[in-house]
Symmetry: C2
Subunit: 322 residues, 2 copies
């Protein structure tokens, strides 16, 4: 297997977001110079994490901004458009226009700048749709049932085409349901943050369906760790699942949150939604072959967030103190 | 199997194009009222074919134009963006912006107007990419290698999502390489038109690769026939291949053209292009189960075009006389 050093300079698109900021921080820890492209600067804890990063403020849709971000970079992490998969069904045209053309523009730039490699964060939770079997490996048929999943799949196909045709060194990571202390429950980011927040504030939660829906939860720290390690092993397949490999139902999460917080949640059970995948768990056999991978189990990950939150005195989310 | 009558009123998007005009004409023959949405009115022979069609002039990207076209329609045929697959690699961002958002906007409209069904012309020649085996059936993995194929695949996925979620009655036809007398060699539409035109004018032709590339050629009349027949059988799978089911190499076409025209072509052999699929032939087993399907073989189809052209005194293409 071929190994390479950490990148000299990484551009993280969406680098102030939930996944992007963790990945940017991890590259900084590994000694890379990091540029972060985002509409707004980081706030709260993210500001601390990204202290030494160069900020490129603006929209990635703006070619000039993107060009600026690419200066001196030898690696790009595309972490745009990850936070709110469910929201993409509100205005599918707008969602499409905001995501895929920007990616294709980036590919056009990379094609003209040999030597910049790409890590693209795709969505393991949505590109497969309702897979014929779980866990789903990378060769499983992709049949997304949400606009979000369709845009991610289209992006993957463009990346494949550009890589084959122009030799762009690209890797597509199909990330499962990432969770972590910086998810914002107010913005609807993630079941775990929403449940913990409800426990903390004494509110009930709404669950669509009967609570048997299976998901593959992985901590944002484990995802960042995988991104950094995978950069270093430059061979292996182009498309890789990144997840825990274990399925948990909504009821499992409910039980763990109740146990950890000591506040069993009141649940408002609602009819299932057509656009919710019934079961998705990622087969991570190939990931295990490429990197050291021992993701934190949910039973440990949830209490970690709870304890982190307890240690903070300020309100949650974007406005956390340094 | 469920059968239904011809549609009362059909809107054909791209209805003055090569495929669209043939389909519109066929629906008129079947007694449907037809509206044709296109940027420009039909010319030459197409004008005759579409004599009784209502013209809705404008861009399908314009929601108001699209709304106007949909008035009173109970069926829509989407035949936009078909003519120049190779061209889509010139500006992939522009290509994307011109195609997929328009389709999604149309789906949003259909969702709000129950009772309008959709036939979408996808591209059997490009959505599969280089399939693992030929002939490729509908369950073959879709791995397009051109921007054109990627936009068609993304469109298919959106149609699937809208159909499942909102009950839109939609059919996706993966058309193989359609050919016919109204293809314009000047605009690069199709190998057969280009070869026949070269024979007619005494020019040579340029062939990329060694001439072994396999394609599934089908006449535009057979395609229009399939579209009309498939409308009437309202069940069967959502995605269907429409092709001859037979593969012919570029050398086969060359030989037939030489034989038919009596002008063996001078060939300028050029290196193969990365974005040309090596072999694509469609498995049309399911199509045969649904409709009466006996496509014209290439050995008959090519002389028919040649004879049609001979019967015309005017220059070829868009400017043909009535």
């Amino acid at each position: 297997m071929n190994h390479r050093l950490s990148p000299r300079r990484v551009l993280v698109l969406g680098g102030t977001g939930f996944l992007g900021s963790e990945i940017a921080g991890r590259f900084i820890e590994q000694g890379s110079s990091v540029a972060v492209l985002a509409r707004h600067g980081p706030t709260g804890i993210k500001r601390k994490k990204l202290r030494t990063a160069d900020l490129v403020l603006g929209a990635a849709e703006d070619e000039e901004v993107l060009e600026r971000g690419l200066e001196d970079a030898d690696h790009v992490v595309h972490a745009l458009g990850c936070p709110l998969p469910a929201g993409s069904n509100g205005d599918p045209v707008d969602d499409l226009l905001q995501t895929v053309p920007t990616l294709v523009r980036l590919l056009e730039m990379l094609r003209r700048r040999p030597g910049i490699s790409l890590t693209f964060l795709s969505s393991g939770g949505t590109v497969y749709g309702n897979p014929v079997k779980v866990p789903a490996d990378e060769s499983t048929r992709c049949d997304p049932i949400t606009a979000y999943g369709i845009t991610k799949l289209a992006a993957e196909k463009y990346i494949g085409m550009y890589s084959d045709r122009y030799g762009i060194d690209a890797r597509i990571l199909r990330i499962s349901n990432a969770y972590g202390p910086l998810q914002s429950p107010e913005r609807g980011q993630g079941l775990i943050a929403a449940f913990l927040d409800a426990a903390r504030s004494g509110h009930g939660v709404r669950i669509f369906g009967d609570g048997t829906a299976l998901r593959d939860y992985v901590t944002v720290e484990d995802v960042a760790n995988a991104v950094v390690q995978l950069y270093r092993c430059s061979d292996g397949p182009r498309v890789l699942n990144v997840g825990s490999g274990t399925g948990h139902s909504v009821r499992d999460v409910l039980a763990i949150v109740g146990h950890v917080t000591g506040h069993p949640l009141h649940v408002d059970w609602l009819p299932e939604r057509l656009f919710d995948v019934k079961a998705i768990v990622l087969d991570v056999t190939t990931l295990h072959q490429l990197i050291a991978w021992s993701p934190v189990p949910l039973e440990e990950g949830i209490p970690r967030i709870w304890n982190t939150w307890q240690s903070w005195s300020a309100p949650l989310g974007e406005d956390l103190p340094l």
